[in-house]
């Protein structure tokens, strides 16, 4: 779960990481008081939307007067921000940050994430902050410093110092960097984060290390133990279909094609997309109904597929394990009662309780094409979708 910049910065403050003075504005009526309380001749206004590339897309603007701030806010609040990362529909802007601009001496990059190989954490830092870090990684990998932190040890000041020294920071800034790194790791482990990225982490003219931007992502699987964080979810930022899938415990990603897929298991779902392409078709989505789907979830899954108007045929590819074929079949029959299905369905069932599953489908009034192998199923669905 991604957090907004303002939410991340509020958490940063709690963990002792310095951020610029800012106010959150959700309504035009708040512009005046936010401006006044910041007591600054210039104010940066930043659209709060879950996407990168906000600056180039007009989502970050400088205002030199309260009038200007009013105009910018009027334009941004309630609109959608479309950037090169946001997708074609963009993301809604329901909140703004009003922030005192930092006097920037230098821009750094700093991030923390889990390291799969060491079973610990990786801290990543670079002297090239404020730019696309993937670009830096490709063009000048030597400018990226990585420090691996054990999953057990809490004493890592020497590692943080090494990282800071690798960035060429002064002794005084090294000390501040150690505090930032400590705060970030404490927040990462304390809140079950999956990513904390500060880009840029700036050295101000006054010699302070300040987090100017913040991208924080929290492990969805751990939200049950962080109710305050869970409440920060801004559902408006998410794709409505994906959100609906998510709430039903399904894993759904919209794609561009015309063949709706319903598969159990992420691996088989990906392989199903691959084989559809292999036979010249185009999947309309990735949909993993998961290991333990129940009837209701299958019904929801079916509705999700049907909600996509581009879909011209459906491929159901199920290899039952935890998900039993009979449960799936009942779900499909139930869904067919609730949703009108006019397009062809190709079904390939195998695995746990497959006989009962086939019987249930066979004795229903539902029309579908059966296939006994994945290849046959893919070929057939590509054919009927043409």
């Amino acid at each position: 779960m991604l957090l907004h910049e303002y939410q991340s910065k509020e958490l940063f403050r709690q963990y002792g990481i310095k951020v610029p003075l800012f106010k959150v504005v959700s309504d035009h009526a708040e512009v005046e008081s936010a401006w006044t309380s910041l007591n600054s001749s210039k104010v940066v206004i930043k659209a709060q939307a879950h996407t990168g590339g906000r600056g180039k897309a007009g989502g970050i603007q400088m205002s030199g007067s309260v009038q200007e701030a009013r105009e910018i806010s009027k334009k941004l609040l309630g609109s959608r921000l479309i950037t090169y990362q946001s997708g074609k529909d963009g993301k809604p802007i329901s909140k703004l940050i009003f922030e005192v601009p930092a006097q920037i001496q230098k821009e750094l990059y700093f991030a923390c994430m889990v390291n799969r190989q060491t079973y610990g954490y990786s801290l990543i830092a670079s002297t090239e902050g404020g730019v696309d870090i993937e670009e830096v990684s490709r063009k000048s990998p030597e400018k990226i410093k990585i420090e691996n932190i054990s999953g057990l040890c809490e004493f890592n000041d020497f590692r943080f110092r090494r990282l800071a020294k690798g960035l060429g920071l002064s002794t005084e800034l090294q000390k501040q960097f150690v505090q930032v790194a400590k705060g970030v790791l404490k927040m990462f482990t304390g809140l079950d984060c999956s990513l904390i990225e500060i880009n840029p982490l700036v050295v101000t003219e006054g010699g302070e290390l300040v987090a100017l931007d913040a991208k924080v992502s929290v492990d969805d699987r751990a939200l049950w133990r962080h109710s305050a964080i869970a409440e920060m979810r801004d559902k408006l930022q998410e794709d409505p279909l994906e959100l609906q899938a998510n709430e039903a415990g399904l894993n759904y990603v919209s794609l561009d094609g015309n063949i709706g897929c319903m598969v159990n298991g992420a691996g088989l779902a990906m392989a199903t997309m691959d084989i559809i392409k292999y036979y010249g078709g185009n999947p309309a989505n990735f949909l993993d109904v998961g290991g333990g789907a129940n009837k209701d979830q299958i019904v929801t899954a079916f509705k999700l597929l049907m909600a996509n108007k581009s879909v011209r045929a459906i491929l159901i590819n199920i290899f039952g394990g935890i998900l039993k074929c009979d449960v799936l079949a009942e779900g499909i029959v139930q869904a067919a009662k609730e949703v009108e299905i006019k397009i062809p369905i190709v079904v390939r069932l195998e695995g746990t309780n497959v006989q009962r599953g086939r019987e249930i489908l066979g004795s229903s009034t539902l029309k579908f094409v059966t296939a006994s192998s994945m290849a046959e199923a893919a070929k057939k669905v590509v054919e009927v979708a043409r």
């Binding site: 699987r221 088989l268 691959d274 999947p283 394990g321 695995g351």
Partner: protein, 290 residues
């Protein structure tokens, strides 16, 4: 022969009284697995299916029933504790089926078990030695005692591969779903190493997918160790949209690795046969083994 588990493996099912636990414990029993005990704290003293004794702790299951392997059907929030418990009780191999464990919990139990206990998963279908025993949730009937070892990060895609191997008449020795989570126990390399010395395993099918570097590491291992048996692979996600879940920084650490193309390239460089279609796994293996 087989690796890790065979008909003599004595299995305890952690979470046996839950719905998934009880369903699959029954399936395992039907398959012939020696399910010697179940564990659910607070429910010790019961009998599962009128025959398998249920204990409050793994320790008691080990002491009283000689369990040496465990399959976990425990809710995500309790899984880390249960894995540590199995490790402390002297279990040699734990198979964690559970999906949705917080990643920091995974870090903690992975560090905790170190080399003291082998772990398969979490978020995996488990392990099966065809015709002998299954510790997991895979449908038993698709397997057939035979000549090929299977290692896979996926669940259902493993079944697919297994099914194909059975249909072309090759069958399997041992099949392991190593799990789809970022932090897992045994990896490709560990299992390739075990299959190396298993005389009945004539070839290994390795099913990979996008993300992480484990396939690349397996490729390097196969190349450097001059792996003596043919390896056949399929990499899922060749057409998956990029970056849906990956933060920027994740892409750095993996330095351009993690794509299907990169993995396929590395595996082909190592002399591994890479299937283009997931439907070709069985046929390809059959061709190679004649």
């Amino acid at each position: 022969m087989s690796i890790l588990v065979d008909k003599n493996t004595r299995v305890v099912v952690q979470g046996i009284t839950g719905s998934a636990g009880s369903f699959h414990a029954k399936q395992m029993l039907e398959y012939g697995t020696k399910v010697v005990a179940g564990v659910t704290p607070g429910k010790g003293g019961q009998r599962f299916e009128d025959r398998v004794p249920v204990y409050d702790s793994v320790e008691e299951a080990v002491k009283n029933e000689g369990a040496d392997a465990s399959v976990l059907f425990v809710p995500p929030a309790l899984c880390a504790d249960s894995i540590c418990e199995a490790c402390d009780a002297g279990i040699k191999l734990a198979v964690c089926i559970t999906e949705g464990i917080p990643i920091l919990d995974e870090l903690k139990f992975r560090n905790y078990i170190g080399n003291k206990m082998r772990l398969i998963g979490p978020n995996c279908p488990g392990i099966i030695t065809a015709g002998e025993t299954k510790l997991g949730i895979m449908p038993g009937y698709i397997h057939k005692k035979g000549r090929v070892g299977v290692i896979s990060r996926s669940g259902t895609l493993t079944y697919e591969a297994v099914w194909q191997l059975s249909n072309v008449g090759l069958g399997q020795t041992t099949c392991i779903g190593i799990g789809g989570d970022p932090i897992i126990g045994l990896k490709y390399i560990d299992l390739l190493e075990l299959f190396r010395s298993d005389i009945e395993t004539e070839a290994v099918v390795l099913i990979g997918e996008i993300g992480g570097q484990d396939e690349e590491m397996a490729a390097a291992f196969i190349k450097e160790s001059k792996y003596p048996k043919p390896v056949i692979t399929f990499i899922g996600g060749q057409t998956a949209p990029k970056g849906k879940r990956m933060g920027h920084a994740g892409a750095i650490i993996e330095g351009g690795k993690g794509t299907a193309q990169g993995k396929i390239q590395a595996l082909e460089d190592a002399g591994v046969t890479v299937c283009k279609s997931p439907a070709d796994i069985g046929e390809t293996a059959a061709k190679i083994l004649r």
